[in-house]
């Protein structure tokens, strides 16, 4: 007798997993349809890589992931867009026009 094992994975469960940076745009689209956003992040140390996140990801969460990937000690990081200014860490990426754009990574630094 031969047993056949069928595994069913609901697509909805996949769409909620975090999408790591460096995943290709094609892979991201397969996983999450149009719910992702892809943009380039530059740092002050010459980093300039493309990242893909789900649009519902908060700016602060995405920035922390990028800061970590770039070797910074994340300290409430966020992004500065050359047209839109500093992005609110508590808002989702979908709030901004980021797809295909380039932003700057900045950390919250001390002051007086």
């Amino acid at each position: 007798m031969t047993w056949v094992l069928i595994v069913v994975v609901q697509k909805s469960s996949l769409s909620h997993r975090p999408i790591c940076p460096h995943v290709s745009e094609k892979e991201a689209d397969v996983d999450a349809g149009e719910s992702t956003v892809t943009f380039t992040v530059k740092s002050g140390r010459g980093d300039a890589e493309e990242f893909t996140f789900q649009k519902g990801t908060k700016v602060g969460e995405a920035a922390e992931e990028v800061a970590d990937a770039y070797g910074y000690d994340p300290d409430d990081p966020t992004f500065v867009h050359p047209d839109e200014g500093e992005l609110d860490r508590n808002k989702p990426l979908a709030r901004y026009h980021l797809d295909g754009n380039t932003v700057n990574l900045v950390n919250e630094e001390q002051g007086v």
């Binding site: 530059k42 002050g44 000690d73 300290d75 630094e109 002051g111 007086v112």
Partner: protein, 163 residues
């Protein structure tokens, strides 16, 4: 010898700065003989121009001397060359000899250690790299300044020498 080391380091970091210029519409001028770098940037909030000047002598054993340059007159350190980021706490702007003598108050600025009129006489220049956290390259320092003029709650326009 140190000047050669500094020159090579500044030259490398200039490439990163040029990348940031391309993204953000900044302009950079550098003189590798005098080890000075100037970057002109614009606030996304109100379009005001600001010019950041680095004197990199001794960098990176010592931090760069960072000043603001008046975008029209070219005067170095004039209060109107500065921005007001005191809209909320953790501002970068502090004062030396009064409100008409603003200073970029961070461990990455050599002026803080050399100018007795500025606050934080307890800071030690030899520790600047560890104390400055993420801000030890020219590019990171520029982005720190850029964010100060890019956030509406923090940025209050050009410094008027009074508030």
């Amino acid at each position: 010898m140190q000047a050669d080391v500094t020159r090579a380091l500044v030259e490398r970091q200039l490439e990163d700065v040029k990348e940031l210029c391309q993204t953000n519409g900044w302009e950079v001028e550098a003189d590798l003989d005098t080890l000075t770098v100037e970057v002109r940037m614009e606030s996304p909030e109100d379009g005001e121009e600001y010019v950041v000047q680095f004197d990199c002598e001794g960098y990176d054993e010592e931090p760069p001397y960072v000043e603001m340059v008046h975008p029209e007159t070219g005067e170095v350190g004039h209060y109107e060359a500065y921005f007001n980021d005191r809209g909320k706490s953790q501002s970068l702007i502090a004062f030396g000899d009064g409100r008409e003598d603003p200073v970029l108050c961070h461990q990455y600025n050599r002026r803080i250690y050399e100018d007795d009129a500025t606050p934080h006489s307890d800071w030690t220049m030899g520790d600047w790299q560890s104390d400055a956290g993420n801000l030890t390259t020219l590019g990171d320092i520029l982005l720190d300044i850029y964010r100060r003029i890019s956030e509406p709650e923090r940025y209050q326009g050009r410094w008027d020498g009074q508030r």
